[in-house]
Symmetry: C2
Subunit: 220 residues, 2 copies
């Protein structure tokens, strides 16, 4: 592994966030190729699948080491392993869920976390009717136990599935409990301290980023 690992003075350099965000997309495409039995893939083929230019893919991947052989393409299995290592996915990550409404329940039943190394290890809600219920094998805890449970379990990732009006407060509480990475489903521009990462998952943002392409031929 080379590239962003060390700067000139031995200081560890981070890859640009735009690159880090693309790596899981590469991982997913490579996993599907591996399942299909593909052993080598060109940046052109990966680019076609991901709607990313081959040059961008080569540049992104070369930041982390020399994975491709000229004219031969990338070794799918090797690149998969290296990307998992770069992204810290060689271990299992425990995740806390806050908010056990309709969306939270759908997330607790979602089968896609475990195969990728993520485990919802604790769930919380403010609603006393939810607390104590067992959903997807997890007992819903009251919010006042947040700090204790996260500390005991060493949880530093969380998913926020509460109404927009409560999201910032919950995110602040999570940040105060040493959570360093938050996926937020509430439609708010939430703030986090600089050492906390936040990704907002919002179908409205996704839709709004595509109407731009439809607007010209839109019906009046």
């Amino acid at each position: 592994m080379e590239g962003y690992q060390k700067g000139r003075r031995g200081k560890t350099l981070e890859a640009p966030e735009v690159v880090v965000v693309r790596l899981p997309l590469y991982l997913r495409a490579l996993s599907q190729l591996a399942e299909q039995g593909t052993q080598l893939v060109s940046s052109e083929e990966l680019g076609r699948q991901l709607q990313i230019t081959p040059a961008q893919i080569r540049k992104d991947l070369s930041s982390f080491g020399r994975f491709g052989k000229q004219g031969r393409g990338y070794d799918v299995g090797h690149l998969l392993g290296e990307l998992r290592q770069v992204l810290g996915l060689t271990q299992e990550w425990s995740v806390a869920l806050v908010g056990v409404g309709r969306l939270g329940r759908a997330l607790l039943g979602y089968p896609g976390f475990r195969p990728e190394g993520f485990k919802i290890a604790a769930a919380f809600d403010v609603d006393p009717r939810q607390v104590g219920q067992v959903v997807g094998g997890i007992m819903v805890q009251p919010m006042h136990r947040l700090e204790e449970v996260l500390g005991t379990e060493g949880i530093r990732m969380a998913i926020v599935a509460v109404p927009a009006s409560q999201a910032q407060q919950v995110i602040d509480q999570l940040a105060a409990c040493n959570v360093r990475a938050i996926v937020n489903y509430a439609s708010v521009a939430a703030h986090v301290p600089p050492h906390v990462k936040l990704r907002t998952i919002d179908p409205v943002l996704a839709l709004q980023s595509m109407t731009y392409y439809l607007r010209e031929d839109a019906r009046p």
Copy 2:
């Protein structure tokens, strides 16, 4: 409006997709500022809220026209209106939902679409037990009515909330029915024709893009 509108030969130029994807984030932050009664905002303040550099914000916005006054900041209301126009959000958009399982039902009950100008106008499922049910005021239709309903309603945006194993097939069907913009909740690297936009919403991708920042101080 200037910038990307016309190229040298009068051809309409598109803004880079990375910029288009950021515009809804600006829109959301500006909406919150407007609700709080803020009339002017600096690129520094916007940048702080969105964890984007002020230089990036100025560059992104200047692509679409001259919104800011030096040393004075952006007029929140004016910029909101212009961004809505750029993104084609001055009209209401009808959206089809495919997949009425737990996630689909959460989406049908989601109150965040209408205030932003999006309306789930039709819902579809392959499961005969779902078909005919009314969820969130919408009657679930069988898949074989997809083309007819989308055509009649002029729907060109869709949300896919089906299991991963069915997602590519559903996306192909939607593309064949003239759908041009798809939000996909299934955890697959789906393919679309070049004229179709696709955004994948996936908590695993979001989590995987943050473990990179946690890996070094991760417990062994």
